[in-house]
Amino acid sequence: MTFGRLEFASLRIGQKLAVHYFAVAMVLFLAQMLFGLLAAWQFLDPAFLFGVLDFNVNRMVHINAMVVWMLYGFIGSIYWLVEDEAGVPLVGPRIAKAAFWVFTVAVTIVVVVYLFVQSGPGDAWTLWLINEGREYIEAPRWADIGIVVCMLAIFYNVAGTFLAGRWSGISGVLVLDLVALAGLYLAGMFYTTNLPMDQYWWWWVIHLWVEATWEVLVGCIMAWGLIKTLGARRRIVTTWLYIEVALMFGSGILGLGHHYFWIGTPEYWLGVGGFFSALEPIPLVAMVVHAVYDAGRHAFRANNHPALAWLIAHAFGNFLGAGVWGFMQTLPQINLYTHGTQWSSSHGHLAFFGAYVTIIVAMIYVAVQRLRGNVWMSAGLQGGWRWKWALGLTHLGMMGMTVALLIAGYEQSFVERAIGGSTWQAYFEGQTQPWFVEAMWWRMAFGVLMTFGVVLLLWDLVRIGVGEKRPMKVVGGLDDVEETGSGPVPEGSAAG
């Protein structure tokens, strides 16, 4: 192995696939930023691209690129760790490769249709071929079916590889979580005239993904990441993972009710949803304690500083964005004023970034280190300013956008809802208040700042470790090498 050179050929099959997934994820991340900027600019200049790329198109591509690149990031992360964790090679590499290409071609076609066809006549064909018109899961039905088929191929590979090799706490949770995650997608794949019925099942996909199964999935990735970057003890991280699962599903499954306050569903959801969703921050606190405790326990001696930094950013970002920002408006008494305002936008931005962007980036840094031949990525890294500035700029940009949107949301819920009586007139009064307009300018400015951060991040991911001659730092105590379970596969990074 040559330090600092590309070592693609020596990667395991799953890891090669993971690199593919990560590459597409990062391209889509950049697309998400660009379409977010276009949509943000349209708030300031509504004539911009009017009739060409309208706000609804830009916003749809913005959020869909995000959902899809996060799925790519998760799938990449799972493929990256599956052989290491199971101790055997991937069981169905050809199916796995085919699934990647089918998925990627499908995503490309969907985006091209979004941009150039945009919408269709009001019949079922449009929903099958162009756009389903349901926020976050707009992908047309043919693509839904394609996604399910690809997910089955991936699931076969993940579960099959663990069956062929060995199981662990992490892999057990991971496989069961994938069953739930894939199964839930089916709840979003039908059409009904009844809007409350439509939104009831729609939230099964959105909420039970984002506030339940995705959270558990990143819990698994976090557990594995802490073992790899810090040499944390497997038994401790596994116990924490179980605690997190109990707390996450214990609060998040019925926390679904906070989406059922105002959509025509019965009044008991006000109580059920308010109570359980108010508990949702608790597992996120547990995750912070866990990550920070482990990092401190190992005196921050990590073999991959950028990855550990992004893991810690994940722990805090998840707590702040999903936990605190979510809690702020989760009680029905507050949500009545804030539902469907820029509050939600503020929460959405910080939560997706804090909970998911961060941990996928951490995993990509883990992958890049191996790709460069298990090179040194601890203190004194050559060109280390890049990852630090990328981390700083993305976080500053995101926090700036979040706070700007929150101010806009406060103003909107006050002027439009509390005073204005929630009419269209009141809506527009809220949208023209100086506080709102200024907040939108600040959002734009911080969005540009964050885009610089993302570009720098992508540059760093391509360049980090180049020319570095030192081998990866050895982490973890000798006495727990066995427990870190890097397994019989020789490249396990914690094996020392």
Binding site: M197, G264, S422, F428, G476
Partner: protein, 213 residues
Amino acid sequence: MVAEGADEPRREWWASEDFWRKCAIFVTGFMALVLVMLTFHTLTVIEAGSEAGRVPAYSVINHRIGYEFDEQRNFAVPVIGPPAPLFGEMLSEEEARRLVDHGKLTVQARNCMNCHTLLGNGAYYAPDLTKAWLDPGWGNESAREILMTRFLDDPIANARTFGTGRRMPDPNLTEAELRGVIAYLKWMSAIDTNGFPHGFTPLPQGPLTGGGR
């Protein structure tokens, strides 16, 4: 260095992996079961036209829809009034369902939800459509149908941006789609949303028993 090795002390039950594994399985199973049970109940309640009265039958578009304060629940709720057929046509339940259905398909096909919110869900670039049918912006009940038709037919020429400069792009609706969208919005306004959006004040409505449209 982590000093714990093979000779570590026995763990307390609350710190053991096994306890928390069982806990995770039990809690997840229990919560999923409760959700499934609540779902069965909710689905019967939100059936269109069910006895609970929260989600109206599609033929509600044949009637006047009011929005009145309910003392007991302490917020305003939709009230179904005497007949006031949309576009002057009384429809059967099935005809009404088909018209509303065409409207919902059109709203999805034109991707309305990525500017507007429906029942508060969607994007925040344009106003919420939950109570669009009842919005005071239409002036009064007799002008509403004509104004809505005119606006949806050419939203650029009839744009009212209230100083934001935000206009709705022309969705190029066919006449059938346009009627469907209006029917869908009328039906939507009769959904009982627990008082959302807060403090909504409808367009001027006389006593609901008075007929008219």
